[in-house]
C-alpha cells in the first residue's frame, strides 16, 4: 500500500474525467493556472536537465571559458579515476548494508508494535523522533557518541572488556578506514528506522485478522504465520521501501559529510560527496555533472531491475 495510491483508492477517481459543459475559454484558462508552476519548472527543472546534459561534455571552472571535451569527463571517470572507483565501492557498501538492515529492523519493530500492546503511541513517538530531527545536528551528536576516548559507545566496549577479561580494544570509529563506514551506517539506521517502521505498521494494520485465524486453524505456528502470512501480505510495501531506500542510500550525503568529512582518506566518501567536491572544491563543473549522470544511470538501472524482479516476489491483492 504505497502512500500516494492509498489516498485516492477510497474514492472513485475516474469520475474526474467527466467534465461539465465544454467551454472554449477553458483552454487559455488552464494555461493560466499552469503558468506559475510552468515558469518555475522551466527554470529550475527543465532547463537545468538540458544544461546538465550539455555541461557534462565541457571542462569548466566557472571562471575561464568552458572548453568542449566530448566524452572525456565520462571516459576519465569510468576508466582512469581511482577515487571514482573508491566512492562507487563505498556507495554500494552503504546501499547493500543500509537497505536490508533498515527493512528487517523496521519490520521487526512494526510487528512488535502491532501485537495490540499498550503504549503504542508512546513507543511510536520515540521511534519516529529521529526521523524529524536535523541531520547535521544528529551527525554531530553521533560524532561525540562515537568519540574514541570519551564517547559512550567505546566506554561500553571498555566496560565489556573489563567485565569479561577479553582483550578487545574499541575502534577509533571516525578515523579508521574500516570503522568509518559502519559509523555512518549506525547513524543512518538510527535516523531512518522510525520511517520504515511507521510505513510497515500501516501495512500490517491492513492485513485482515481472518488470514491469521485461518492459519491458526490450519495449525501454523507463530513463525510460520509470520513467514507465510505477514511477509507476503506486506510485500508490496517492502517493494516500495526497497526502491525508495535504495534511491536514498545511493544519494547519501549529509551523514558522512558532517560526521567523517568522507575520511579517513576517502574511506567513507560517497558519490554525491565526490560530486560536491568536484564542483565546489575542485572547480570541475563538467566532471561533477558527468558523475551526476552516471549516478542517475545507476539508480535508474537498479530501480528497473527491482521493478522487473518484483513480479517474482511481490504479492498483490486481487479482486480489490
Amino acid at each position: 500500500m504505497s502512500a500516494a495510491s492509498s489516498k485516492s483508492s477510497g474514492t472513485p477517481s475516474n469520475k474526474g474525467f467527466r467534465f461539465g459543459k465544454w467551454r472554449p475559454g477553458q483552454q487559455n484558462e488552464a494555461y493560466l493556472f499552469l503558468l506559475p508552476s510552468l515558469i518555475g519548472f522551466a527554470f529550475f527543472v527543465l532547463i537545468p536537465i538540458i544544461g546538465a546534459f550539455a555541461l557534462s561534455f565541457f571542462d569548466w571552472n566557472l571562471i575561464s571559458p568552458a572548453k568542449f571535451v566530448g566524452v572525456d569527463n565520462y571516459k576519465q571517470l569510468l576508466f582512469q579515476d581511482a577515487v571514482f572507483r573508491k566512492v562507487l565501492g563505498n556507495t554500494f557498501y552503504y546501499a547493500v548494508t543500509i537497505v536490508p538492515l533498515q527493512l528487517i529492523l523496521g519490520l521487526v519493530m512494526a510487528v512488535a508494535l502491532n501485537q495490540g500492546i499498550r503504549g503504542l503511541e508512546l513507543y511510536r513517538l520515540i521511534y519516529f523522533m529521529p526521523v524529524i530531527t536535523n541531520i547535521v545536528a544528529v551527525a554531530i551528536v553521533f560524532q561525540w557518541l562515537l568519540n574514541r576516548d570519551f564517547g559512550v559507545a567505546n566506554a561500553w566496549v571498555w566496560q565489556l572488556a573489563d567485565a569479561t577479561g577479553w582483550h578487545i580494544a574499541p575502534p577509533d570509529w571516525l578515523n579508521s578506514s574500516f570503522w568509518a563506514k559502519p559509523a555512518v551506517i549506525i547513524l543512518t539506521l538510527w535516523k531512518n528506522i522510525g520511517f520504515t517502521m511507521v510505513i510497515y505498521l500501516a501495512a500490517l494494520q491492513g492485513v485482515p485478522e481472518s488470514l491469521y485465524d485461518a492459519a491458526k486453524v490450519d495449525g501454523a505456528t507463530g513463525s510460520q504465520r509470520f513467514r507465510f502470512v505477514t511477509i507476503p501480505m506486506v510485500s508490496a510495501t517492502t517493494f516500495f521501501l526497497v526502491v525508495i531506500q535504495m534511491i536514498g542510500a545511493f544519494q547519501l550525503f549529509a551523514e558522512p559529510f558532517v560526521m567523517t568529512r568522507g575520511g579517513p582518506a576517502q574511506a567513507s566518501l560517497t558519490i554525491v560527496m565526490y560530486i560536491y567536491q568536484n564542483a565546489f572544491e575542485f572547480g570541475r563543473m563538467g566532471k561533477a555533472t558527468a558523475l551526476a549522470w552516471i549516478l542517475f544511470a545507476i539508480i535508474f538501472i537498479f530501480t528497473l531491475i527491482q521493478t522487473r524482479l518484483q513480479r517474482r516476489w511481490v504479492h498483490y491483492e486481487t479482486g480489490d
Partner: protein, 276 residues
C-alpha cells in the same frame, strides 16, 4: 488475556523499552553534555549526569555565532518555500485534474518523468542558474529553486480527482469562475491532504542541508543546518558548546512534534517518498 499472552506482552515491552533507550540515548547524551563543564566533558568513564547544570554553555554557543539570524533564515525560507510550492502546485494540479486543454496528458507525463531525475543531477545546473540570475547568497536562491515540485503537483492532482465533479458543475451553473472553484471548492475539500503535504514540505525545507550549503556564503544567509555545520568546523572539540547548539537546533521541531505526532507521521507517510 491468557497467561501465555500476558507473558508474551511482558517480553515485548522489555524488547521495546530497550529499543526506546537506544533511540533516546543520543538525545540524552546530547542534553547531558550540553550542561557539563568543559573539564567534565573529558572524563572517563563518561558521566550521564552533569555535576551541576551549566546553562552558560547555551549563552556561549548562541553568542559565538548568529544563531538568531540562522533561525530567522530557516523560518523565512521554510515558510516561503512551502507556501510557494503549495500555491503553484495546487493551481497546476487543478488544471491537470479539472480543466480540459490541449497537451494535458503529455505535459503531465513530462512532470511525472522529471520525478525520476534525482536532485543531485539538478544541483550543479541550478547553482549555475542561480549565479546567472544574480541570486547567489540571497533569499531568492534559498526559496525559489526548491519551490517547484512535480511531486506535490502529482499528489494534489490525485487528491483533487477524488473530489466529486458534481460540486464543480453546480458551482459553474451558479456562475462561479474556475479560480473560485479552485479556491472555494477544491482547496477546502482537500484539507487533510494539503495539511499533510504542508508538514512534509516544511520539514523538508527546514532540514534541507545540501542546497543552502551550496548557494550561501555569508554567515547572515545561513540556515540552521548550514550554520551548525560551520560552527562545528570552528569549535570542533568544544563538545559542550556543540551539543548546546545541537539542542537549540532540534528543540523547536521536537516540541511541536510531541504535540502533533499524528500529523507529522501522516505528513511523512502519506507523502511517502521522504524526498524529492
Amino acid at each position: 488475556m491468557t497467561q501465555r499472552k500476558r507473558l508474551g506482552h511482558i517480553f515485548l515491552h522489555i524488547f521495546l523499552i530497550i529499543g526506546s533507550l537506544f533511540m533516546l540515548l543520543p538525545f540524552i547524551w546530547m542534553l547531558s553534555t550540553s550542561l557539563k563543564e568543559a573539564r567534565e566533558v573529558f572524563t572517563f568513564p563518561p558521566q550521564w549526569l552533569p555535576k551541576k547544570l551549566n546553562w552558560s554553555n547555551y549563552t556561549k554557543a548562541l553568542t559565538a555565532m548568529p544563531f538568531g539570524r540562522f533561525y530567522l533564515n530557516s523560518f523565512m525560507v521554510a515558510i516561503s518555500t512551502t507556501l510557494l510550492t503549495l500555491t503553484t502546485s495546487s493551481l497546476a494540479a487543478f488544471a491537470f485534474a479539472r480543466l480540459r486543454f490541449k497537451g494535458r496528458e503529455t505535459l503531465f507525463l513530462v512532470y511525472l518523468a522529471t520525478l525520476m531525475i534525482p536532485f543531485t543531477v539538478l544541483l550543479i545546473p541550478n547553482f549555475i542558474m542561480v549565479r546567472y540570475l544574480g541570486w547567489y547568497d540571497s533569499y531568492w536562491a534559498l526559496i525559489f529553486p526548491p519551490a517547484f515540485s512535480a511531486f506535490a503537483t502529482f499528489l494534489l492532482r490525485q487528491n483533487f480527482r477524488g473530489i466529486p465533479v458534481e460540486l464543480d458543475d453546480a458551482a459553474r451553473m451558479d456562475g462561479a469562475s474556475s479560480f473560485r472553484i479552485w479556491w472555494q471548492i477544491i482547496m477546502p475539500n482537500s484539507g487533510p491532504a494539503i495539511a499533510a503535504l504542508a508538514i512534509f514540505l516544511f520539514l523538508g525545507n527546514w532540514n534541507e542541508f545540501l542546497w543552502p550549503l551550496v548557494v550561501t556564503n555569508s554567515p547572515e544567509m545561513r540556515t540552521i543546518p548550514v550554520g551548525l555545520n560551520s560552527f562545528q568546523g570552528q569549535y570542533s572539540v568544544k563538545w559542550e558548546l556543540l551539543m548546546a547548539a545541537a539542542v537549540v537546533a532540534m528543540l523547536p521541531i521536537i516540541i511541536v512534534y510531541m504535540f502533533a505526532q499524528k500529523w507529522f507521521i501522516k505528513g511523512i507517510t502519506v507523502t511517502g517518498m521522504g524526498g524529492r
